[in-house]
């Protein structure tokens, strides 16, 4: 586990930031050049991240320190296995989302596309910043910048509900981060005698916190501070953000924002508190019950939603609480499961969002009740939708199965019957709100049968993107081991 100085993480972060310049320069007039530069930046970023993978798989930790902001803490990157998994997911899905958004934006002749791509690139660079953050302060810096850079994307349509959604988005994210996270972080910094907030092996909180009540309060401050993870009381910004164009909600749900929330909570569990300390004080239970409650309630709400994107949003809230549930089990299987679930859910959910966007772009339909018999008209989209749904439910032949398997294994290893039941019940509920869509799409005849049965797919670029992610989901099922080796190694390293 020896440390290695390298500025690869810095380059990876700055590539997408650098891409903002050509995007703005090319602007509206030379749109193709602008889109080309986005995709080129995506490919470059993915290649740099892939260059880092062998080093990290070989047990090295790449770190890069910039400047000491507060005595004892520097703006530092420290890339370990867990960081690289998330970075891989984020950068690969960015390329796919860019391809998709070309199709979507052009198909719908959206306005202000330059602004869209520019802020999209900035959001990605801050996401990687969070992935590579070496200490709590750097994590907080990039976490805030991510909220700032995604706000214009959420309010892209500039109309009434878009502004409402944007305001809600900011109130929740800024409110919780400034309200809970900043004081908690400063409290840790002060109480730990001013030494650095680095994510160390078994956390630095154990040095100054002994009685469990303070630990619980601190843990809850952190857990609710990262409102991006969408735990129940602070989740309603997520459905509110559905007013954004689909590539943004794809980014929000699958690639960047919510994944950053969950990533930070795992970082807090492993790096700030340390797994042994939590096991010793046995305070993982509370968080797991909150997560379990969120899983069940969000799945029930998802059942009742007619708008497809809102239903997907509530299913995301549920899936995120899976990950939080997994980490709060505090055993190897739980942690591995939650880490891999980030990747699996990302691929699955992004496919679902792409299909929702394609349907809206092709037919203008948003509500599930209108989507009867759509399978005949848009077969590829609906097959991809089916694969995505399978991965989210956790059925075999889709990546989601493996990660859910590990999560369930974790609950059994901990002899937690209650959590086991929640997992199974929520899988049933997932099935309950996905299969009717698929069934109606393929096997029912539309009453007003105004569709002639001719194939009318969405914009080719969109279709390519969603098929790539669907294939990716299946690939993850067939070749899960590279991902799982990384995750297992990371989990064992956290526990040792």
């Amino acid at each position: 586990m020896e440390n290695m100085q390298s500025n690869l993480p810095l380059i990876a972060c700055l590539i997408s930031l650098g891409a903002v310049l050509p995007i703005c320069l090319f602007g509206e007039k030379r749109r193709n050049l602008r889109e080309a530069s986005t995709i080129l930046a995506g490919i470059l970023k993915l290649s740099v991240v892939c260059m880092m993978v062998p080093l990290i798989a070989g047990g090295k930790v790449l770190n890069f320190t910039f400047i000491e902001i507060v005595p004892g803490i520097e703006l530092a990157f420290k890339v370990d296995r867990f960081g690289i998994i998330f970075a891989l997911v984020a950068s690969s899905l960015w390329i796919v989302t860019s391809i998709y958004s070309i199709g979507y934006m052009r198909g719908l002749h959206e306005h202000a596309q330059t602004r869209f791509y520019a802020f999209f690139a900035v959001a990605l660079s801050t996401t990687l910043g969070v992935a590579f953050a070496g200490n709590l302060l750097t994590l907080y810096v990039f976490y805030e910048l991510l909220s700032m850079s995604t706000w214009p994307l959420v309010t892209h349509h500039q109309d009434k509900e878009a502004r409402e959604g944007g305001r809600k988005y900011l109130t929740y994210l800024l409110g919780t981060s400034v309200g809970f996270l900043l004081p908690a972080m400063i409290f840790c910094y002060l109480k730990s005698g001013g030494n650095s907030l680095d994510f160390s092996q078994n956390g630095f909180v154990s040095s100054f916190v002994n009685e469990p009540t303070v630990a619980i309060v601190l843990l809850l401050l952190f857990v609710f501070g990262f409102a991006k993870a969408g735990l129940m009381p602070f989740h309603s910004w997520l459905p509110g953000a559905m007013v954004a164009p689909t590539p943004v909600s794809a980014l929000l749900h699958a690639v960047a924002v919510v994944k950053v929330g969950v990533f930070c909570i795992i970082r807090v569990f492993t790096g700030v508190f340390g797994i042994e300390f939590l096991q010793e004080l046995d305070i993982g239970q509370i968080v797991s019950y909150i997560a379990a409650f969120t899983v069940v309630v969000s799945s029930l709400i998802a059942l009742s939603q007619d708008n497809l994107k809102r239903r997907l949003a509530f299913s995301t809230i549920g899936q995120l609480s899976y990950i939080i549930l997994g980490i709060s089990l505090l055993n190897v299987y739980g942690i591995t499961g939650s880490m891999t679930h980030i990747a699996m859910h990302a691929f699955g959910k992004i496919t679902l969002f792409f299909c929702a966007g394609a349907i809206f772009e092709a037919t203008g339909k948003k509500y599930i009740s209108e989507m009867v018999g759509i399978g005949k008209r848009m077969p590829i989209t609906m097959i991809a939708f089916f694969i995505g749904a399978m991965s989210v439910i956790g059925l075999p032949f889709a990546g989601g199965f493996w990660s859910k398997f590990y999560l369930v294994w974790g609950t059994i290893a901990n002899e937690q019957p209650v959590l086991l039941i929640t997992f199974l019940a929520s899988s049933l509920l997932n099935g309950a709100y996905f299969f009717p869509i698929v069934f109606k799409a393929f096997f029912c005849k539309p009453e007003e049968s105004l569709f002639e049965d001719k194939i009318e797919e969405a914009h080719p670029a969109a279709v390519i993107a969603l098929s790539i992610t669907a294939i990716g989901t299946v690939m993850l099922f067939i070749f899960p081991n590279p991902l799982f080796d990384l995750a297992k190694a990371a989990a064992t390293q956290f526990l040792s």
């Binding site: 400047i67 902001i69 002749h109 214009p152 109309d159 305001r167 900011l170 400034v178 004081p183 409290f187």
Partner: protein, 504 residues
């Protein structure tokens, strides 16, 4: 010549004012260049003094060659050197900025405006360096008189606002003078170091005179710095003043008074006298009232300039609250916030003035898709806004970090909650502006249109107003990232002063 640096950056603006008075009578346009060169010269010498203080410790400059208590002294430690540099930076950037607004609004009086501008800078620099309590009163009056005139040259309502400011300001200054009188009555000396020395050796802190002196001094200074119950004069004064005067006095006048308060707390009374004077229990609550009041009023305003004045009132609440937690960490935090907030207030005023000159924008509703019309100014404006909200890489975040850590360290939770609420209020204010600024008022005309990007639409602020905006917002980020040397200097000075050994 370096040995006389402290006097040079005091006399440079002073002599420039005189020269402008003479030269201005014939050719008005000479006023601007003379002012800018004088201020850059004084900035150089202020930086030289700062470096000298950084290396060799506090610089003592005896006026007229008389030794300590008999003559007037400059006692320049890191705090006063930093304040001097801050003043010169703010003054230089405002002077550069003022070419266009002054020319367009009160052109023919510019040969009077710039001398008053420079005399204000001389007075304020003098305040930061003098070690004599009475001399401080005279310098407060110099800067006050110039600020009354600088304000009264603005819009029609500024005259009445300036009169109110004159009344309240002179009241405050006279209360300060009475406080110094009480100290002199009890100790027999006026030099700050000497006051502290005599008050500690004769244990005078518990005597009623010194307690009442503290009340008078503090009430006087609170009036001058517009702390919450005494802030009545500030909103009108800075709203209707000409934009360069508001950009000059907004960041300087109130912040220098906070510096004077901190100087009296640590150098004259000493931290332990302050702590056992039981003030630290109730003053932070006064500050919290100020923060809450300032933020709420700022939220309810839609005139930009008026909104910024209420933000100043709230920020003063931060500083007074932090200073009166009376621990070394909290005073370091208060002082760092003095510097970062001065820069932020200046940037706000400069950007708003740029918007007013080019597009006559006065209230939030006029700012429709301003980001397309003035992209560069609005980039500077958004950096300042993020800094006021406390988004990480900026100096606003660092000062919020230190203020909250001071609050936690002193265990004063209401103060922390007030801080968080205020930063959230700032977030609402500025994102409301961003919404109108970036997305315009009416929703995008349907999904299917490509908005035009023609050149006519884009009309940036004049060059001389743009540069200060950019320099200031860049310095806000740089001050945020490279804040360690400043924090280091401030905390060592404060601990050395309050650490007991009276640094001569």
């Amino acid at each position: 010549m370096l040995q006389h640096a402290p006097v040079i950056h005091l006399l440079a603006p002073f002599y420039a004012a005189i020269i402008i008075c003479i030269a201005g009578m014939w050719r008005k346009e000479t006023a601007y260049p003379i002012a800018v060169t004088a201020l850059s010269l004084s900035l150089l010498s202020a930086v030289a003094t700062l470096i000298k203080v950084g290396i060799a410790g506090p610089v003592i400059y005896a006026m007229g060659g008389w030794s300590a208590p008999f003559g007037i002294h400059f006692h320049i430690d890191a705090l006063s050197a930093l304040m001097a540099v801050l003043i010169q930076v703010v003054a230089l950037l405002t002077a550069i900025h003022s070419r266009h607004p002054i020319h367009s609004s009160i052109g023919e009086k510019s040969y009077l405006y710039y001398p008053l501008f420079l005399l204000f800078v001389t007075g304020v620099t003098g305040i930061c360096q003098t070690a004599d309590a009475f001399n401080l009163y005279v310098l407060i009056e110099v800067s006050a008189l110039t600020s009354y005139a600088l304000i009264a040259m603005g819009e029609k309502r500024s005259v009445h606002a300036s009169f109110n400011y004159l009344l309240v300001g002179s009241l405050g200054a006279t209360l300060y003078l009475l406080g110094v009188g009480y100290l002199y009555l009890k100790t027999g000396t006026l030099n700050m170091q000497d006051l502290n020395f005599i008050m500690t050796t004769r244990e005078l802190f518990s005597t009623p005179t010194i307690q009442v002196a503290l009340i008078l001094l503090m009430v006087g200074l609170w009036i001058k710095m517009a702390q919450f119950p005494f802030h009545g004069w500030l909103p009108n004064a800075y709203t209707w003043a000409p934009s360069p005067s508001a950009a000059l006095m907004g960041p300087l006048m109130t912040k220098v008074m906070v510096y004077v308060m901190i100087r009296f707390m640590i150098s004259v009374y000493g931290l332990d006298a302050i702590v056992d004077s039981m003030w630290t229990t109730w003053v932070p609550y006064l500050a919290i009232a100020g923060i809450v009041y300032g933020s709420l009023m700022a939220l309810s305003q839609h005139y930009l300039r008026r909104m910024v004045t209420y933000i100043i009132v709230a920020e003063i609440g931060y500083m007074v609250g932090a200073a009166w937690l009376a621990t070394e960490l909290s005073i370091t935090a208060a002082f760092y916030h003095v510097i970062s907030d001065a820069l932020m207030t200046l940037a706000l005023f400069l950007c708003i003035a740029a918007m007013r000159v080019r597009h006559d924008i006065r209230s939030i509703h006029d700012m429709e898709n301003i980001f397309k019309k003035m992209p560069i100014t609005m980039v500077a404006f958004s950096i300042v806004a993020l800094s006021l909200v406390g988004i990480p890489p900026t100096s606003g975040f660092i000062s919020k970090w230190y203020l909250i850590s001071a609050g936690i360290d002193a265990g004063h939770w209401p103060y922390i909650i007030a801080l968080l609420l205020a930063s959230f209020a700032n977030a609402v204010i500025f994102f409301r502006i961003f919404e109108i600024g970036v997305f315009g008022k009416k929703p995008a005309e349907g999904h299917h249109h490509e908005e035009s990007h023609d050149k006519k639409y884009l009309s940036e602020a004049p060059f001389s107003m743009l540069i200060p905006c950019l320099v200031i917002s860049a310095s806000i980020i740089l001050l945020g990232i490279f804040n360690q040397p400043f924090i280091e200097m401030i905390s060592t000075t404060i601990s050395s002063i309050s650490g007991g050994e009276v640094l001569q």
